[in-house]
């Protein structure tokens, strides 16, 4: 990837991270940790990979995205807002009783959201439904879904994985956000889903392992996914929960708690600094 393009994506990801902090701070609740860990991949998807148009969010031929880990809604909303689906200013209304930005995404309220999610394990099934539609329509669009590494403890994920491989849904790319932390602790301590790549491979997936914060690796993975025919792809990406905000990184306590004013100021200052460095 060209340096200028990479820098541009990094800037957008930084703004997406600011949106995550803005939303959860104003809501006084939400899930910043697992939102920050997927900010880079969402930025890549919406600004480089996917065929989507904020002016025509319901276009039948658009690529589809399902946030199976629906609690990372702040990341999805911030990405959609910066892409132009709705005003960035609205991110401050996250989780408010008069806002369309629900705690978990609702496809009927938010422009650009293709599927309502929130109950873990279910989004991947809906993504399989999209991929089936794509197959019926001669591979007319691609389908992407992001799952948490804790989420794959849900049995339904493996029902869906079996289905995707059995029906040869090669327009489907499943992305696992392997930040290694879930509410009750590390994923090994709670109930280990490791080894993740081997599990998807044994279900019949084309499996790619990457660093989920490296745009070169993200780009190579999606290109490889597109080139793969006859089977779905699983991108297992190693990530840092809380990535980009120093005191949130690798801290399970930031799974589902919001920053207070002091923490908000520090986080925003850190992200502004990162932006400045990118612009220098």
């Amino acid at each position: 990837m060209e340096n200028a393009e990479k820098k541009q994506l990094k800037k957008i990801a930084c703004n997406v991270r600011k949106g995550i902090i803005e939303g959860t701070f104003n809501a006084k609740s939400g899930h910043p940790g697992g939102s920050l860990s997927i900010a880079d991949v969402l930025t890549y998807l919406y600004f480089k990979e996917m065929n989507v148009d904020p002016k025509d969010p319901k276009n039948e031929k658009r690529d589809r995205f399902v946030l199976s880990k629906g609690h990372a809604a702040p990341a999805l909303y911030a990405t959609l807002a910066h892409k132009g689906f709705f005003p960035v200013e609205d991110l401050k209304t996250l989780r408010k009783s008069d806002s369309y930005l629900q705690g978990h995404p609702n496809m009927n309220y938010v422009p650009g959201v293709d599927m309502s999610t929130g109950s873990l394990g279910q989004g991947i099934s809906a993504a399989c439904g999209f991929a089936l539609a794509s197959k019926i329509e001669n591979d007319s669009f691609r389908v992407y879904t992001v799952l948490g590494d804790g989420e794959i403890q849900e049995g339904q994920v493996w029902e869906a994985a079996m289905f995707a491989a059995a029906k040869k849904l090669d327009t489907l790319t499943v992305i696992v956000d392997n930040n290694n932390l879930q509410i009750d602790g590390s994923i090994e301590e709670v109930n280990s889903p490791y080894p993740i790549p081997e599990k998807f491979a044994s279900f019949g997936f084309n499996v790619i392992e990457i660093n989920g914060h490296c745009f070169d690796e993200i780009e190579a993975a999606f290109n490889q996914a597109k080139a793969c025919k006859g089977k779905p792809t699983a991108i297992v990406m190693t990530t840092v929960k809380g990535k980009g905000v120093s005191f949130m990184e690798n801290q399970v306590s930031w799974h589902g708690s919001a920053p207070n004013k002091e923490q908000y100021d520090i986080a925003m200052a850190e992200l502004d600094n990162a932006l400045k460095e990118l612009e220098a």
């Binding site: 399902v66 609702n106 279910q122 991947i124 099934s125 999209f130 329509e137 339904q156 029902e159 869906a160």
Partner: protein, 315 residues
């Protein structure tokens, strides 16, 4: 006397799917390894390219159906009532109900008339479960004629529908002139002493109960209530006003089904005694279906007894 035609509503479901498939190539059918039993196998045979088997994974099936339906398809997803409404309740609630997606759930083998398979497969809770989902339409047809019309009507409307079909062949109640409308109950008899509100295979048994009551000098109204949700409040109000008491009859738990829906509607508008015939708060068991219907009191005699009690409760 002409022979009475007996058909299982699941057979009518399978045939209606084929009829729909012929008219509309956007109709897609899913099953979870029960195509031979749910009768979606008829559609599979006619349109193999538009039929998908998810295997024994009902939760995933509901999600896949939802995703596909948002791309402009009319999707039917089938399993036994126990595994559709029961196993996949939360998938239906969150991925079909909450986003109000156009998925039609064809649930067969509902109620204790499943027979010999016994309690693990006899779903008497499905109407109760589905009723709690906002925006869910629930249809429980009485015979093959109504089942066919219900499937065609469900395909015409936008939004999720739960259709409840039986395994047991049941006598035909309606003729070819019967008009079906989602959300409307219909009078099959008009009387002045009591109204029986019946659904599913209990409609035919309620018709027999009306005759038994007549022989004892009691004039009963009878309403066929195929749509449990949204419930037809207008016809219930009319029945309460004209007869002053109600007996409900359903092949479902007395908790949360038709009886509850009727009692709730009337308690808030025109309170009259409402007595319920249904499966009491108990599990089913193995046995021939017709025997089980007698054992669990899902018969005309029980409707007659409850009708007399309801009349006695009138002020």
């Amino acid at each position: 006397m002409a022979d009475i035609i007996k058909t299982a509503t699941r057979d009518a479901y399978g045939k209606a799917l084929v009829e729909l498939g012929e008219k509309n190539d956007k109709v897609i059918v899913f099953d979870a390894d029960l195509a031979a039993a749910t009768k979606t196998g008829m559609f599979k045979k006619a349109f193999p390219d538009r039929f998908y088997d998810t295997g024994i994974a009902e939760g995933n099936m509901m999600g896949v159906a939802a995703g596909l339906a948002t791309c402009g398809y009319t999707v039917f997803a089938s399993s036994f009532a126990m595994f559709a409404a029961g196993r996949a309740f939360e998938q239906i609630r969150n991925t079909i109900g909450y986003p109000h997606i156009n998925v039609k759930i064809g649930a067969t083998h509902a109620g204790i008339s499943v027979g010999e398979d016994g309690a693990s497969h006899q779903c008497c809770e499905d109407i109760a479960l589905m009723r709690t989902i906002p925006g869910m339409t629930i249809i429980n047809p009485a015979d093959d004629v109504e089942a066919r019309l219900a499937v065609l009507a469900a395909a015409e409307m936008q939004g999720p529908v739960y259709m409840r079909f039986g395994r047991l062949a049941v006598p035909r109640v309606f003729d070819e002139n019967y008009k079906f409308e989602i959300g409307k109950g219909t009078y099959l008899a008009k009387g002045s002493d009591v109204t029986i509100v019946a659904t599913g295979l209990m409609v035919e048994r309620a018709i027999a109960a009306v005759e038994l009551l007549k022989a004892e000098g009691i004039n009963a109204s009878l309403i066929n209530m195929a749509t449990i949700k949204p419930i037809d409040k207008d016809i219930l109000l009319d029945a309460a006003k004209t007869t002053g008491c109600i007996v409900t009859a359903e092949e479902h738990s007395v908790i949360g089904g038709l009886g509850s829906a009727v009692a709730e509607a009337l308690a808030e508008t025109y309170p009259v005694p409402v007595l319920r015939v249904g499966v009491e708060d108990t599990f089913g068991k193995s046995g021939p279906a017709l025997e089980l219907l007698e054992i669990f009191g899902l018969n005309a005699a029980n409707i007659v007894e409850k009708a007399k009690k309801a009349i006695a409760l009138k002020k």
